[in-house]
């Protein structure tokens, strides 16, 4: 069953066509990768799905319901969460609070109940702290919980973005180059984490990634973009051997080394 369906999606920036007539189906519970050279339009695609950009034309359906025209926070409420290629943490607040911000829509404390410090607000906050800590444990960052987010090492920041996105309780999680800047050990941990998340959290994952080892290892379906157009899609094996993809992106030899 397709949870996220994109039809004829196009985005133009002035004369530049960043996405051109993209069609895509993301199966529920799958891990789908979007790959392609820099400037291919991958991030733009994510930005349209999450409401950061409005498509020039085309449809985006989440569970057969159109989400085009929704504001980013509304898209989040519908159950799509994301991380950012250029890390966008809340740098000056603690790691734990970063995750708690992700729970925003699941907390109900209003202005007056907060000022009056009502028992139910206190209870809710306490539970939120616990839940946030649990998520940090899940991604392996619990030892940093009291630290300022900006002080984390790069790889940890990327993981924190994932924990924060998970806090919104998404159905679909979009990861924009989650392994960028990670060393091989961190990347392999991340690969495991992504795989586990899908298994354990009832998630559908779409990821943009340049690390072909990671992509080939965990994705069931791969979509390749080049110059804003979808040039191929299929299983990792299909993609590895696709002439067009090799020419545009993977380069010769990718079919054998896949890295």
């Amino acid at each position: 069953m397709s949870i996220l369906t994109v039809k004829n999606l196009t985005k133009q920036f002035g004369g530049l066509v960043a996405n051109s007539n993209i069609d895509m189906e993301v199966q529920k519970g799958s891990i789908t990768a979007v790959i392609g050279p820099n400037g291919a339009g991958k991030t733009t695609f994510f930005n349209m799905v999450t409401g950061v950009y409005q498509p020039t034309s085309g449809e985006i359906l989440l569970n057969n319901e159109s989400i085009v025209g929704l504001k980013p926070h509304q898209v989040t409420k519908k159950g799509i969460a994301r991380t950012f290629q250029n890390i966008r943490l809340f740098g000056a607040i603690t790691v734990l609070e970063n995750v708690m911000v992700g729970m925003h829509n699941h907390l109900h404390g209003g202005l007056f109940s907060t000022i009056l410090n009502l028992p139910r607000v206190r209870k809710e906050e306490k539970e939120a702290r616990r839940e946030a800590y649990r998520l940090l444990e899940y991604v392996g960052l619990e030892s940093f919980y009291n630290e300022e987010a900006s002080s984390l090492p790069y790889g940890a920041q990327r993981k924190l973005e994932i924990a924060r996105a998970l806090a919104t309780k998404p159905k679909v999680l979009l990861l924009d180059e989650p392994a960028a800047g990670m060393n091989p050990k961190e990347t392999s941990e991340l690969t495991k984490l992504i795989y586990n998340m899908r298994e354990e959290l009832d998630l559908t994952i779409v990821l943009i990634e340049h690390d072909m080892k990671l992509v080939m290892e965990i994705s069931e379906h791969i979509v390749v973009l080049d110059h804003g157009e979808k040039i191929a899609e299929g299983t990792p094996d299909d993609i590895r051997n696709n002439e067009k993809v090799i020419e545009a992106y993977l380069g010769k030899g990718a079919a054998t080394t896949a890295s």
Partner: protein, 430 residues
Amino acid sequence: MKNLLYAIQQNKRLQAIIVGLYIVVTFFSLYLAQKSVVAFLLLLSSLLLLYFTTFSNRVKWLIGGVVMVVLLPLAASQGEAYQSYMEVATLVGIYIAMALGLNIVVGMAGLLDLGFVAFFALGAYTYGIFATGQANNFMPFGHYPLSGESFWVFIFIGCFVAALFGILLGVPVLRVKGDYLAIVTLGFGEIIRIIFNNLDKPVNITNGAMGLASVQPPRLFGIDFMYPNQFYYIVLVILVTVIFAVRRLEFSKIGRAWKAVRENEIAAQAMGIHLVKTKLMAFAVGASFSGMMGVVFAAKQTFVDPTSFTLLESITILVMVILGGMGSVPGVILGAALVTILNLQVLTELTNWLNQLSLNGVINVPDALSPAKMQRFIFGVILILFALYRPQGLLPAKNPVFDEKDLKDADKLINAGVQKEATQHVHLDS
């Protein structure tokens, strides 16, 4: 020196002795040396000392409460300078509340507002118009001035009106960002002042540049509040409420949303935060503190006119926030106290002293260089120095420190506990 500080930090009894001694000594110096502004300021600084102790919050509030409610007024009450001390303390309180309001907007939500005094003006005029005969000019019903008993209701009305205007201002203004926001809010501040200045025709609502005179003093149980030592207590109560409110908001869902918006708007939205709603809330809450204090200000001065609400006032409040530390509640309190005292006490005292000197022919300071007139210059210097050398302010904002025990999964612990109990029962039974 470092070792000594460390030793003191470890020893609560030592801290108690130091703070206690300090309070007693400054209390008696103020009590005996009535004219000494220094003694007054030193007694006031006991709060700062208290802040740095490691006592629990409750103890800090308790001691601080005793100093503010009993000791300070009592020590100051012995001489003719009493009312002037209380006047300073009252104004300090008013400015602290406003600075805390602006701190929400600028410090927490990261929205630079250069017209913040407008909300103070709105509060002041709200009470001023209805607590003088002015309202007779346009109100179809009722007799004005309203009695001083209405003051207490007006604190809430002032709060509400300011919050409402905070939202009304916010809706168009929040479309712009960064520098543009600063410019638009600056314009808003000036427009409000100019409106108050000109709203004497066609219908005379604000009495224009003449201002509103003889505002009714607040009244409670038949007692009129006329003197600074009485207003001092009104301000103290509002201020404590404001501090509690700010503290609770700061570490709540709402406060986190403000900070998230400040740190990264796009990520904040991606976390499900409604950008406009969150910013409007910051504007409204921040403005409401100023509105309340505006009402108090009008009643205290018994006179309201547009000259009290100039751009310089907005800048002054901003300086308080920057000096103390953006986003830091203790910092902003300190910043507001320092700037107000600098303005009211230090600069005037210096001016008087220099005047004395020139009267006696010792030196001749031209009038244009008198310290009281150098306010803007001094603010400018403060801003530049802090921007360069200490952008986080005197007492930088601190993040909450969470307790790991509080965070560990409760279910597991409870389950473990239950299991333990169960095994114990088994033992008992057998």
